[in-house]
């Protein structure tokens, strides 16, 4: 099947999933036996007219099913509604927060995937040696720790006790954000030729991205290790050795590419975990991203924001998996896209 045809097919299949996502979040957020109008209107000091107006705007007086159809109707017109917590359209909020999270997540992957793969290879080659045990132990501790605890500890250690990294935020005070193109500060500042902002952005990314990626690093390390071990026992590795190839070539040319196949899947799946983990990391490092937005939206019963957020995350996640599947086909010629 041709690649574009495959992509179209996947994108079409995305639609029912997204409808499902809206139904699911709609149901979850609307079974709450509380109506948030009072809250949006400002709490005890709210004027009754304001509350009633918001209730009407949100169609809270209607049955849930009707509310859902109102939502769907807006959605097909690319209107995600209004965020009452931020008192602006949800799309505005998403446009601001999504690139921040994307930047953080991408850097988390850029840190964790190479480190995880290298660690996994070392661990597999030196199986059951001390360095293997140590690497694995660190990795396993890595995903046994609550991420927020890790974040707090890093912050305390590297921003306060040994102040070598910035405490929070995306840029230093006094550095102004580059003109928005992609919303990724690193990219935008390079586009604008603003090296100071780029440096500052990278500097601020370091700690949160590492924290966020740590669990993924551990996961990828473990995955690479075991698939590497599995591949190293395969017949074609024996063949490669029988050809007289050096151990280096055998490992890096013949074994690694095969071993990477499961690693790629894990990376794709971990993208979702990263988006989820961002809730905690962003809160601590004061990263103005989707995670923090989602958390406050969920707690504040800002339905429109919650729905918009999940929708965007779901799309991102599904697209990430599509990319992974395409990557698959690049790494492994046996994989036929959409093949039977």
């Amino acid at each position: 099947m041709k690649t574009w045809e495959y992509i179209t097919r996947r994108l079409i299949l995305l639609i029912p999933v997204l409808i499902g996502v809206t139904i699911l979040t709609f149901v979850v957020s609307h079974v709450i036996p509380a109506d948030p109008a009072m809250h949006f209107a400002g709490g005890p000091k709210a004027q009754p007219e304001t509350i009633e107006r918001i209730r009407e705007e949100l169609h809270l007086n209607e049955p849930v099913l009707v509310q859902y159809f109102y939502y769907l109707n807006d959605l097909v017109h690319f209107d995600l509604g209004k965020s009452y917590l931020e008192s602006r359209p949800v799309t505005d909020s998403l446009a601001q927060y999504f690139p921040a999270t994307l930047e953080l997540t991408i850097f988390a992957m850029l840190i964790s995937i190479p480190l995880g793969i290298v660690g996994g290879i070392i661990s597999a080659i030196r199986r059951n040696k001390l360095s293997d045990h140590i690497t694995r132990f660190i990795a396993i501790v890595g995903y046994s720790l609550p991420i927020f605890w890790l974040a707090l500890m890093f912050q305390y250690a590297f921003a306060y006790q040994i102040p070598i990294l910035p405490l929070e935020g995306r840029l230093s005070i006094g550095v102004s954000a580059p003109p928005p193109v992609t919303g990724l500060f690193v990219v935008d500042s390079l586009l604008a030729g603003d090296l100071e902002a780029c440096g500052s952005a990278l500097y601020h990314l370091l700690m949160p991205a590492f924290t966020l990626g740590f669990a993924t690093l551990a996961l990828i390390l473990r995955m690479t290790r075991s698939s590497m071990l599995e591949v190293m026992g395969a017949d074609y590795i024996r063949t490669a050795r029988a050809k007289g190839l050096s151990e280096r070539t055998v490992i890096f040319k013949h074994a690694l590419r095969n071993a990477l196949i499961p690693t790629v899947t894990v990376s794709g799946l971990s993208f979702g975990a990263l988006l989820g983990g961002a809730v905690l990391t962003e809160t601590i490092f004061n990263w103005p991203g989707m995670g923090r937005f989602a958390a406050s939206a969920v707690i504040g019963l800002d339905f429109n924001s919650v729905m918009g957020f999940t929708l965007v995350v779901a799309i991102t996640y599904v697209l990430a998996n599509l990319i992974v599947d395409l990557l698959y086909a690049v790494i492994d010629p046996r994989v036929k896209l959409g093949g039977v």
């Binding site: 097919r9 079409i12 093949g339």
Partner: protein, 322 residues
């Protein structure tokens, strides 16, 4: 052996759909069994031989209705298996059994032997409790195993022993007809002999009818009364064993037989070389599907599909040469 036909297929077809495209439309089919007509007489052994992937296993599974045939009929003792409903089919199951190719994967690794062999009895309500135990033991003894084996798991057995267990399970319900799907191909030669002997004994004792599937022609020669040669989903030649080994009509059969290495350095075989490889079952060649490899190819071979015709008594062949 008598002349009563116990099983007969009528234009049996099994096409596996291949799905693809935006809405998983069925694009193509694997024509694993394509228009097969065979019959088996009571008490005889019909051997099915052919290259790997030509559809032998699928034929066996289709006959037993383990997969629904795409088209065609299977008559077993007069009733059409492909028509009757699930309930009736379950009632008929005890009469039709199968022994699988791979003894390792055909036994549930998490069940003890007593459970495995006893399962058919339990399901069909034949025996229970102490009676069950007695029955199972009897079956194990029939295939040369003992009481001490009853409480072990499959992985504690050798390949040959596992195949015996598979046979015991097939025998549990006193079947009339057993499909033996390459029962010895996963086994050592020395063990293969033991199993073949056992099968012959059992056939004699219980008057069984076998459909014996294999790709090993020396084995098939040893065990079957008649042989059907299968090529890419179709039967190309059927003949009594003796006739077939004396005189092969179809060029494919000739090539197949000549390809067998003979374990005697004194005999130097003359080979008929075949070009190319086993054809794809998705896009089988037109006309006679053997024609691209056939040393005696004629112009009409690529156009017209030959029919299975009786060339001498009991000897059928599907080839334009005859």
């Amino acid at each position: 052996m008598n002349d009563e036909i116990i099983l007969k297929t009528d234009h049996l077809k099994e096409y596996f759909p291949i799905k693809s495209g935006i809405f998983s439309k069925v694009k193509d089919y694997v024509r694993a069994v394509d228009d097969v007509d065979i019959y088996i007489q009571k008490g005889e052994t019909l051997g099915i031989a052919g290259e790997s992937g030509c559809g032998k296993t699928t034929l066996g599974r289709t006959i037993l209705q383990l997969i629904k045939p795409t088209d065609g009929k299977v008559f077993f003792m007069g009733s059409d298996l492909s028509k009757i409903n699930k309930k009736k089919l379950r009632k008929l199951r005890p009469h039709l059994q199968i022994v699988f190719q791979d003894p390792a994967s055909s036994l549930n690794p998490r069940m003890i032997i007593k459970k495995i062999v006893g399962e058919p009895l339990v399901i069909n309500g034949v025996a229970k409790g102490a009676d069950l135990e007695k029955k199972v033991l009897e079956l194990l003894k029939t295939v040369g195993l003992t009481e001490q084996h009853m409480y072990r798991y499959p992985h504690e057995f050798s390949g040959g022993q596992r195949q015996r267990i598979g046979i015991a399970r097939a025998l549990a319900l006193n079947p009339d007809f057993i499909v033996l799907d390459e029962p010895t191909s996963a086994l050592d030669v020395s063990v293969q002999a033991q199993i073949l002997n056992l099968l012959k004994d059992l056939q004699k004792r219980f008057g069984l009818t076998y459909l014996f599937i294999t790709h090993d022609l020396s084995v098939i020669n040893h065990i079957s009364d008649r042989i059907a040669i299968m090529y890419a989903g179709k039967i190309v030649e059927v003949a009594p064993t003796k006739d077939l080994f004396k005189k092969q009509l179809h060029p494919y059969t000739q090539a197949l037989l000549s390809a067998i290495p003979i374990a005697d350095p004194n005999i130097k075989s003359k080979r008929t070389h075949l070009r190319g490889e086993v054809p794809s079952l998705i896009h089988p060649p037109s006309g006679c599907n053997f024609h691209p490899r056939c040393p005696k190819e004629m112009p009409k071979c690529s156009k017209i599909e030959p029919e299975l015709k009786e060339s001498s008594k009991g000897h059928f062949v599907a080839c334009h040469l005859y």
